[in-house]
Symmetry: C2
Subunit: 397 residues, 2 copies
């Protein structure tokens, strides 16, 4: 095919040839880190702008030794379109897809901020729980067997078989962090804790492997697959999810679990920073309320959507009650594995890694790893999300 | 494409043109019931023979109003080849596949008997548990994430997306039997029991729906999808599985569950027949032992295969212990739903339907429906298969 890497100097010609933006003068700026994709922001004379994202055939972080199929760009565009169909307000809009160049054009959200960057400065997003709970409930429900025609759903499962991206998750989230794997990225100050404590928790590894098996086998709904606060643009009024190249039909609770885990990392990370105690407590209270609201609004919205269940086997709300128990347990399991992988796996979060003193950082990492262990091992036994937030508050506040 | 239905008079020319069998003179006989497929047995002068199976574009039982994609023939052939690769001795051999005619040629097993026909006459198959436990352990293990490369496995999942055949199972096994559905085929003598008792068991329907949800979403391994005693040729020395058009990546325990349910139907069916009491008890004891042996040998063989697990997350036998608990529970759930569907769903078993007196037949059906209900509701709570057979024996012997 005609794939070639679009360099910064090629972008203007490309934009003109495809008539992606009005005008004659364009400025182009590379905005992504270029690890897996080239991402450009293009602006015309009127200040109108678009984002171009093109898949690269390898993962830069490890050189070109880790090839990744370009088709992930097509999968991402399709996933964003399907999620956008059901939750227009909270999914980045795809404007154009070039399946030859494995490239897509999206609306520019530069007026917003990546949520993680706000949260490390204790920025509050008052509408976030309302928005993301809609996103979670709708993208799950409308792509699940509870709503979809089972024949059409299976055809869609087929289109979203995404083995190479899933393999990254299987390795980096569910496997490497549980032993001294070469790809781990370990804070030297944390190493003795890992060796003497964390890696001795065979019971924990077994539970993580149960979650991995679910990730490998449960094709429940079209999940985003990498929903953390770095995949979300947010401000006071808006919330937009992007970066869906890990999308596939997987466990429904995976997205909310990953999001929860990332929020809990942020919650604990302030332990290693110099913010005033009262500010931290205020922000932590905001986070706890947000965590409760996300799940409670999600389940309320799902219950409302349940009226649209077509399948006579699942219509009864009793089935939803049962289903939510499973979902809740799985969500906590996925929250736990993501908290763990972000501490000493290959890819970390800046929430913790911006703590420069490695000794202090390791203390925060230990807290997070211990909390994640507790959440994993107890995930079957919580009555509701408020019990979980109570536990978190009692763990540290 | 060039698909056309191969009529009996076309078969000889087809066999000659494809050189499927040596010789000049062939006799042809239609051997299947022709409901979903045309099946012919072709014999040459030397007495050598083959079986030709061609998919029909509709289900005859309901006229051509229920179209079924011809591709199921290709899926069946592929499934038999994969299962045959891992368990050569107990899978019918595929000799030739014609993807244009949606037709495949198989070895002729007429020297053997369909197992169901033997079991209704209380025929014993002394090697069956040894054989089928190998089939169950190997076809599961080698097509699961415990053995396969995760990328290759997902590509295979994609090839085996089989939505139309799965829909039949979803409807006929998991849905229709739980309410007064038009497609049900109800013994009039059973109707008041269904209305006053069985269909009031909402708790049972909910559990059946949990099993349905697993069937819809759990892509664990390449299952046969319709493994009952009518899909197995057997004699004293051999066991061969055939009829795999329902194959897809589904719950690993589905096959063994269906088989167990069918065996239990046979076990109870003698209640409505005129065999001498001592003969029935002798055969029932044989069945109970066979049920125990199938599961015990299966789990023993799986444990042996576990040494070949490649994935570091699952290598530990502790994981197998956990996994077998889930498998066992699911197996009992699937056994239950198949016992139920064969009583008053669309398609029955002759084990019970050969009982001509409808009143007597309904008494047997009630016993089976009650036992299936008990097994479903208690499936989480058995220590091992011997407890289940003890329960069955105490229920009726």
């Amino acid at each position: 095919m005609g794939y070639k890497i679009l360099k910064e100097e090629d972008v203007v010609d490309y934009v003109k040839s495809k008539k992606l933006l009005n005008g004659k003068e364009f400025s182009v700026k590379q905005v992504g880190d270029g690890n897996l994709n080239n991402v450009y922001r293009v602006v015309n004379e009127q200040g109108e702008s678009i984002i171009i994202k093109q898949a690269l055939p390898y993962v830069k972080i490890v050189g070109d030794s880790w090839p990744l199929p370009l088709e992930r760009n097509t999968i991402e565009a399709k996933a964003l379109k399907i999620h956008g169909k059901y939750c227009r307000k909270h999914v980045v809009k795809v404007l154009y897809v070039d399946e030859e160049y494995y490239l897509m054009v999206m609306e520019d959200l530069s007026n917003m901020e990546v949520m993680r960057l706000g949260m490390i400065r204790m920025k509050k997003y008052p509408k976030f729980s309302e928005h993301i709970s809609s996103y979670l409930a709708k993208t799950f429900f409308y792509t699940s067997d509870f709503f979809m025609d089972p024949i059409k759903k299976k055809e869609l499962v087929k289109e979203f078989i995404n083995p190479h991206l899933c393999k990254i998750t299987e390795d980096l989230i569910f496997t490497d962090p549980y032993y001294d794997a070469p790809r781990n990225n370990i804070n030297p100050e944390l190493l003795s804790y890992l060796k003497n404590k964390f890696w001795k928790r065979r019971y924990l590894w077994r539970e993580a492997s149960k979650m991995k098996y679910k990730f490998l086998t449960e094709a429940e709904s079209l999940v985003h697959g990498d929903l953390h606060t770095g995949s979300i643009f947010a401000n006071e009024n808006e919330t937009k999810v992007f970066d869906a190249e890990f999308a596939y039909f997987g466990p429904a609770a995976f997205d909310q679990g990953l999001l929860l885990g990332n929020i809990l990392i942020n919650y604990i990370s302030f332990e290693g920073k110099d913010f005033p105690k009262d500010k931290v407590q205020d922000y932590r209270q905001f986070i706890l309320t947000m965590i409760e609201e996300i799940y409670e609004k999600f389940s309320k919205k799902l219950r409302k959507l349940w009226k649209k269940v077509n399948d006579i086997s699942f219509k009864d709300e009793c089935f939803l009650d049962y289903y939510l128990e499973k979902y809740f347990e799985d969500m906590l399991g996925y929250a736990s594995v993501v908290m763990i992988r972000r501490m000493h796996g290959l890819a970390h979060n800046i929430d913790v890694d911006e703590i420069e003193d490695l000794k202090v950082r390791s203390e925060v990492q230990k807290l997070i790893l211990d909390m994640a262990t507790n959440i994993m091992m107890t995930r079957k036994h919580w009555k509701d999300i408020k019990e979980v937030t109570e536990y978190v508050k009692s763990f540290i506040f």
